[in-house]
């Protein structure tokens, strides 16, 4: 991964992140966030996490943010535009962000292990292949490619099947919750909108 790409995508991620906060129009915020997430997905991919990177785009950019956009458009919020900025909160937020960043920078300054580069940590796929029990994964590792999604799936289903079920149940509960929340009272008085 060339360094220039890292800087490019980090810049995209952060600048559009700032855009989310700064933009007056919620639609602009949402689109900024989409761009920010796309940059983030690229960073994931730069870390050899292809599956997570794709998932980031698929779930966040493709589904979650569409929902956001949808809600913003349906509710047709205009009130926020043109309203005066509250300088107290703006300063407070900025202060927090700066303090936090400085703090992170200080902590990272003391973090010696963090100075490892990707070159120091090259993947040793041969070693991984010898440790793998599943044949398809072993073959691909031996070929020299990283079967990212397969390894991910193997970890999920082999090590954390119970957690996976729980998350499935959570999603179901979420679905039911949304249906209940968004269902209007048929018996009650009709809303005038």
């Amino acid at each position: 991964m060339p360094s220039v790409l890292f800087y490019l995508f980090a810049a995209i991620t952060l600048l559009f992140g700032v855009g989310v906060v700064v933009a007056r129009n919620p639609v602009a915020s949402a689109l900024s966030l989409v761009c920010s997430f796309t940059g983030l997905a690229a960073l994931f991919i730069s870390l050899d996490a292809y599956f997570i990177g794709t998932l980031q785009i698929l779930v966040y950019a493709g589904a979650v943010m569409v929902l956001f956009l949808f809600i913003i458009m349906l509710l047709d919020i205009k009130a926020a535009e043109g309203r005066q900025t509250n300088y107290a909160t703006a300063v407070g937020g900025l202060l927090l962000a700066v303090l936090f960043t400085v703090q992170i920078a200080m902590v990272l300054g003391d973090f010696k292990e963090g100075n490892k580069t990707l070159a120091d940590q090259t993947l040793n796929l041969g070693a991984a292949a010898s440790k793998t029990s599943l044949n398809t994964i072993k073959d691909e590792l031996a070929e020299g490619t990283l079967p990212d999604a397969k390894l991910m799936g193997f970890t999920l289903f082999d090590k954390y099947p119970f957690q996976l079920q729980v998350v499935g149940l959570l999603l179901l509960a979420g679905t039911v919750g949304v249906v209940v929340l968004s269902k209007r009272d048929r018996g009650g008085k009709e809303e005038v909108s």
């Binding site: 050899d48 996490a49 997570i52 992170i104 070693a127 193997f154 998350v167």
Partner: protein
């Protein structure tokens, strides 16, 4: 070359931006987006650590599994949260957090 710290710094800044956003913005939907941003920042640290902490020569997929779960839960949370926001909007005709201070002491 790019070090682990670089990734962590990016994640930290992204988190800080999200935090600032939650403090600064009053539109509840934007606040929600900023929350998502903070979650994603956490995900970035996880993935970075996963890549820089090799297990048998391959990235540590336990960390990535955690990211997977985070994304799943975040998706569920967004769905429910947005439904709540819609309900709120129906009740208040506003998505400004200043308009929902009923529960103050």
């Amino acid at each position: 070359m790019i070090t682990l710290n670089d990734y962590l710094l990016v994640a930290g800044i992204l988190f800080a931006i999200g935090l600032a956003g939650v403090v600064v913005r009053r539109n509840i939907i934007v606040i929600y987006m900023c929350l998502e941003m903070m979650l994603s920042a956490a995900n970035l640290t996880l993935v970075a650590f996963s890549r820089f902490h090799l297990v048998d020569g391959a990235p540590d997929y336990a960390a990535q599994s955690l990211v997977f779960f985070t994304i799943t839960v975040a998706a569920a949370e967004v769905a429910v949260g947005l439904a709540i926001i819609v309900a709120l909007f129906r009740a208040k005709q506003s998505v400004d957090v200043e308009s929902v201070t009923k529960l103050k002491g």
